[in-house]
């Protein structure tokens, strides 16, 4: 497989900025006193994402195979369950300063561990330092 470090960094910067902007809409919604429409907002948010995703898919071959359908369903379910369970935790009086650091920092740790142990990924000392600082940064930010 051709692994390109520059291309990886470019794609990660795009993902970093675009993923960061994604949830900012919720802030705009609450600033405009429209927070009561959060369920509708989420539905149209996903619909907007689907619209772009279909455009990107039409750019290539529209055919999807069974593996893609199954994994897409599992990923959609995992994404949805993650948000729903975090919401349920908050509604059961788990403070945000515990729920958010645990779900973000904890998932980072588990995914990094899975990458190294299950998929035999090699992470150098700078990468481990980056991962450690990243987990500390996210825990600090979500507890702030």
């Amino acid at each position: 497989m051709n692994r390109d470090a520059r291309l990886w960094m470019k794609l990660m910067l795009i993902a970093f900025v675009a993923n960061g902007l994604g949830p900012f809409g919720l802030k705009v919604l609450s600033e405009r006193k429209l927070a009561g429409y959060q369920p509708q907002y989420l539905f149209y948010w996903y619909l907007g994402g689907l619209f772009f995703a279909l455009l990107a898919l039409f750019g290539g071959s529209f055919r999807v195979n069974r593996k893609e359908v199954a994994l897409g369903a599992f990923m959609g379910l995992a994404s949805f369950c993650g948000q729903a369970f975090t919401g349920l935790a908050l509604s059961h009086n788990v403070p945000g300063y515990i729920a958010f650091p645990l779900t973000t920092g904890g998932s980072l740790f588990l995914v990094a561990t899975a990458g190294i142990l299950l998929f035999r990924e090699k992470v150098g000392p700078y990468g481990i330092a980056g991962l450690t600082l990243g987990i500390i940064a996210l825990v600090t930010l979500s507890a702030a």
Binding site: Y46, G60, N65, V123, L138
Partner: protein, 164 residues
């Protein structure tokens, strides 16, 4: 025990599973655009079902809600597509960190757009995010250099073995 803590653990495991599925999709040779489309298709269905069946709500909303939601949803979809494409060229462990570190962006945007106060803790976290991204870049570049050097050595050894 407060069931809220069990929900927190379930949330943690769900988000972790999502990261592992991203890697699995790459290992199984799934196309990033197909994975992105199916992830959003299923999520749209789930959010619609929750809104209508569980919350007893309906999709009708003021135009301003729709026009705020759609561009930010598109932005998130671009992110997932870039992440899934990026995993081909890097590790899930570091790629997952890069996408999660983006939670610093709404903080910066809130400071710039809504003039929110910057606490010392927030400022410290934002500096750590930049430092962390820089370290990931250094790590990835070093890996690439090592790989190129190993390939060059292998080429030289291959040429030496060939009969003259």
């Amino acid at each position: 025990m407060n069931p809220g803590y069990l929900y927190t653990i379930a949330g943690l495991l769900s988000f972790s599973a999502l990261g592992v599925f991203h890697k699995l999709a790459d290992v199984k040779g799934c196309r990033p655009s197909a994975i992105n489309a199916l992830l959003y298709a299923w999520s749209t269905v789930f959010s619609f079902l929750i809104m209508t069946a569980i919350q007893g709500d309906h999709p009708a909303a003021p135009g301003s809600v729709v026009w705020i939601a759609i561009p930010f949803g598109i932005s998130a979809s671009i992110a997932i597509l870039a992440l899934q494409a990026g995993i081909r060229h890097g590790n899930i462990s570091t790629s997952w960190l890069a996408i999660n570190l983006s939670s610093g962006i709404p903080t910066v945007a809130s400071i710039l757009v809504y003039h929110e106060a910057v606490s010392a803790r927030k400022a410290f976290a934002l500096v750590l995010i930049v430092l962390s991204m820089f370290l990931l870049w250094v790590d990835r570049s070093r890996q690439e250099r090592r790989r190129a050097a190993a390939e060059a050595i292998a080429d030289v050894q291959c040429c030496e073995k060939e009969p003259q």
